[in-house]
């Protein structure tokens, strides 16, 4: 498994007496789209939070490009090139769209003096380009808080692309987006993967979306890993069907 970009080994995380993740192990291969599904409360977001360093894990280990990251902070992991988006969309609501993108550039090698630098014309153009990519170019000078929920999701996606991460963890990218926009978003996710070469790891409840998007899917239930495989394998797996219908 040395080829994996993210390797989760036996991760356990409990909140008080509630074991949200128990001995979870999975691998995300570079360059592809990996899905993570499971019923509500099965521990998907907890696993994401563990991977990006949002909270310490109780046991196990998490490797990013072969390097142990389970003791690093959110910021350190983000600077290594692993970024996440939030289930509840989070953007900088009082800044305009261009500013939202400019602050999202990678802070990987930021030295102290760069705090006081200015943004180059290239960066502004890149920001405009990405806003065009997600279809928000005409709103670039509006404060982000005035955008609709779906537009904010697109903006958050553009912010993640601006950062040029190696891996992007997306927590329910299509939740709350109107169905006609979903196809456009799927298309953009695929293009981000193919054209920008960003590895995607996606939590998704919409089965049509995830089956269409991912080449490898993991299914969680009650904090444990239940099944893994290609979309067709997952679709036909009786354990996955049982978990969703509450058979146990």
């Amino acid at each position: 498994m040395s080829g994996s970009i993210i390797e989760v080994r036996g991760v356990t995380k409990a909140y008080g007496g509630v074991v949200a993740n128990h001995n979870v192990s999975l691998q995300v291969e570079p360059g592809v789209i990996t899905g993570l599904i499971g019923p509500n409360g099965s521990g998907k977001t907890t696993l994401f939070n563990s991977i990006v360093g949002h909270h310490p894990i109780d046991s196990g280990s998490i490797l990013f490009e072969g390097r142990e990251i389970s003791r690093l902070t959110v910021q350190q992991i983000a600077r290594l090139g692993m970024l996440r988006t939030f289930q509840q969309t989070r953007i900088f609501s009082k800044m305009d769209c261009i500013q939202n993108l400019l602050i999202s550039i990678s802070h990987r090698d930021h030295a102290w003096k760069e705090m006081f630098g200015r943004y180059s014309q290239n960066l502004t153009e890149k920001a405009e380009h990405l806003l065009e990519f997600v279809g928000l170019y005409s709103k670039r000078k509006l404060v982000a808080g005035s955008l609709s929920f779906g537009q904010q999701k697109l903006l958050e996606f553009a912010m993640a692309l601006m950062n040029e991460p190696k891996v992007l963890l997306l927590d329910e990218p299509t939740a709350g987006i109107n169905p006609t926009l979903i196809n456009g978003l799927i298309d953009r996710l695929k293009r981000a993967n193919k054209e920008f070469g960003i590895t995607l790891f996606v939590i998704e409840h919409n089965m049509r979306v995830i089956m269409n998007l991912a080449s490898q899917i993991y299914c969680m239930s009650h904090g444990e890993l239940l099944a893994s495989g290609s979309p067709s394998q997952i679709r036909d797996d009786q354990r996955v069907i049982d978990a969703y219908l509450g058979a146990h």
Binding site: I91, F92, S93, S104, E114, Y137
Partner: protein, 350 residues
């Protein structure tokens, strides 16, 4: 800078220079006005631009004041003996001693509060929202009490500052000029600072600090620098104010949490936080109202100020500049393109 904007700046500068000559009796009050503007500008860096409502910024003002006083005295006398004598020993500073002490004092009054801010930020920036506000308030009150209990620096009895050597009226003009220059430098510095990346980073911290962290922004660094900038200018203001007043003591002059500490917030909210000019407009209006109530409503002045604060907070949260911005968004570069968005390109990789 446009011609119109340059003209406005020059006009205000001219008014600032002319004021003490036109109304020489009010020179000290005008100097206090400049300090109020500085208060509002530095508070807004934290509370407006970065969203960290500090109730304890006055700590740097008082600390700077005491640092400057001690340096000025220690260069010539034994500080303990000077403060213990309560003015009984004959205090004589030559011109050279006075100005050397003042220059060195102001310098250290700028530097040491920055170090204090760095230490405090390490301790207090783990707190957010109301917890940060209460934490900083605690620091301000503790600083006043600790100073009151420390007899080497005069304790609650305070310190009589070295006497300005110039002739009558010179002291006022000298410190008026110094306060005006300090405030203008503060304005120019912030104006530059808000034009750099720094401004976007602290705005991002204000809007959603968790998101900024998730993007890898060095949030702790930015917060520390923002507070240090405030501390730097507040320290200078404290040093100048102490010397202008001639007598300093902890509760009313150096760490007046209930007056200056609250004024800096009220002025910023009134003018509109998160803008460069909001604090300046707010300070001007607040200062004028304060002078008017002191003159015409003596005895009721704090009630009048209290009403002003309540009305601002309850009914006028966006402040004056915020209101203008909501009325005329185009002036601030907010607009939607009339033409439809360009079609998606296929070669979007860059």
């Amino acid at each position: 800078m446009t011609k119109r904007s340059l003209g406005l700046h020059l006009l205000l500068l001219a008014a600032g220079i002319a004021a003490p000559f036109l109304f020489p009796a009010h020179t000290v009050q005008f100097a206090v006005f400049w300090i109020f503007v500085l208060f509002a500008l530095t508070w807004d860096t934290m509370g407006g631009q970065m969203g960290y409502n500090s109730l304890g910024n006055v700590v740097f003002f008082g600390f700077g004041m005491y640092v400057c006083a001690i340096v000025q005295i220690a260069l010539v006398y034994n500080v303990g003996a000077y403060t213990a004598s309560d003015g009984a020993i004959k205090i004589d500073f030559t011109n050279q001693q006075y100005f050397t002490g003042l220059a060195l004092g102001v310098f250290l009054a700028a530097i040491l509060p920055v170090i204090l801010a760095a230490i405090l930020s390490w301790i207090l920036f783990g707190l957010r929202g109301p917890y940060f506000a209460i934490g900083t308030l605690g620091v301000a009150i503790a600083a006043a009490e600790l100073t009151s209990a420390w007899s080497w620096v005069g304790g609650g009895a305070g310190i009589a500052m070295p006497v300005f050597p110039g002739g009558p009226g010179m002291r006022e003009r000298f410190f008026y000029a110094a306060c005006m220059i300090a405030t203008i430098l503060c304005y120019l510095f912030l104006r530059w600072l808000y034009s750099t990346r720094f401004s976007l980073a602290i705005n991002a911290i204000r809007d959603d600090e968790d998101k900024a962290e998730a993007l890898g922004v060095h949030t702790a660094r930015y917060k520390m620098v923002a507070w240090s900038v405030s501390a730097f200018f507040l320290g200078i203001a404290g040093a100048l104010f102490g010397n202008m007043t001639g007598f300093i003591e902890p509760l009313e002059t150096a760490y007046p949490t209930l007056t200056f500490g609250i004024f800096m917030i009220a002025m910023t909210l009134l003018g509109g936080k998160g803008t460069l000019w909001g604090p300046i407009v707010g300070a001007t209006l607040f200062y004028t109202l304060r002078e008017l109530t002191w003159t015409y409503l003596l005895g009721w002045q704090y009630i009048a100020l209290g009403v002003l604060i309540i009305v601002t907070v309850v009914y006028f949260q966006q402040g004056i500049m915020g209101w203008v911005r909501a009325q005329k968004p185009g002036w601030f570069g907010v607009h939607v393109d009339a033409e439809p968005a360009k079609a998606l390109k296929t070669d979007s990789s860059s």
